[in-house]
Symmetry: C2
Subunit: 185 residues, 2 copies
């Protein structure tokens, strides 16, 4: 009688670095499975760099067979050139997920930060620290991988988080027991 498991992939696409993180929800616990970053060689042309993202993410999907994917909702800002560059990286990444028939959730950076660090205004370094702690990692993941893991963790706890959002916001750090996490075997 094993517990229900759900394999979740988080992605943080970017034109320079695309972070990914895989976690597994087992019952009410979230385990770390894998994480990393895809960094297309800057010396290559645009199409080649986009192919690098597409190929790398295809390998991640084939290796870890996620059932759900969470992607950070694009923050477009006010610069159309930046939005185009981000869009291109997202397009190369999301095409992989569509081809694999995967269901995608989009969460805002604020939702993701609030879920792991207790506040939507948490900075990169706070997210890295909390992800390391929640998943019982030996070292902090790189920024973009930490963001991707945070997105996956957020989705792993989405039922619980929805409950929290309705209740009173706890002050300061949440009790450890709210996120029961264990390291991957």
């Amino acid at each position: 009688m094993g517990e229900q498991t759900l394999r979740i992939l988080g992605i943080d696409p970017g034109s320079l670095v695309t972070g990914f993180g895989v976690v597994e929800r087992v019952g009410s616990a979230v385990h770390h499975v894998a994480h990393g970053t895809l960094r297309p060689p800057r010396t290559e042309g645009l199409a080649s760099r986009l192919a690098f993202i597409h190929r790398g993410l295809s390998e991640v999907v084939a290796s870890y067979e996620p059932e759900l994917v969470v992607v950070e909702k694009a923050f477009v800002g006010s610069n159309p050139r930046t939005a185009l560059a981000l869009g291109q990286a997202r397009g190369a990444a999301l095409a992989v997920l569509g081809a694999a028939g995967l269901t995608i959730d989009e969460l805002t950076p604020q939702e993701i930060k609030r879920a792991v660090a207790g506040t939507g205004g948490a900075d990169k370094s706070q997210v890295q620290k909390m992800v390391k702690r929640l998943l019982g990692l030996d070292t902090e993941p790189a920024e973009d991988a930490a963001d991707a893991l945070a997105a996956a963790i957020c989705r792993g706890h989405v039922g619980r988080l929805a409950g929290l959002a309705r209740g009173p916001r706890p002050r300061g750090r949440r009790p450890r027991s709210e996120y029961v996490v264990r390291r991957a075997r």
Copy 2:
């Protein structure tokens, strides 16, 4: 002693419609090979639509084995949301070309229109008419396919066009003989 041939693929990526056109340069002539549009089902989710573009263009590249690719340079405008959506379609498309190791030229819409219609301010319908005429087609291609064919034609004549750009601009319609085109067998 056959003439040197060069197979050129033109692409006009878009989030709703992606046009493609294939021509072959044989000596100083440009032949039509194929053209069409990729229209992802609007009822599908974003990732699935991007996968549709990626898969469709992969089939085009596998079928027609182009040696060169010309892509319309993105006109980003002032709206970051529009730029993001265009970027995503371009990312899904360009990843295919990068994976195939293809060389990509980017040309502005103005350069392309000037090449086929004599003026950078030509409208969609003028481009369709001129592409039909230059390639000896029976019917006008759809707008996005016409733009893609125009980009490919433009690249097929790039040496000649560079020469034209240096000389005096001819008034009105260019003589037919400047673009020797024949229909594909």
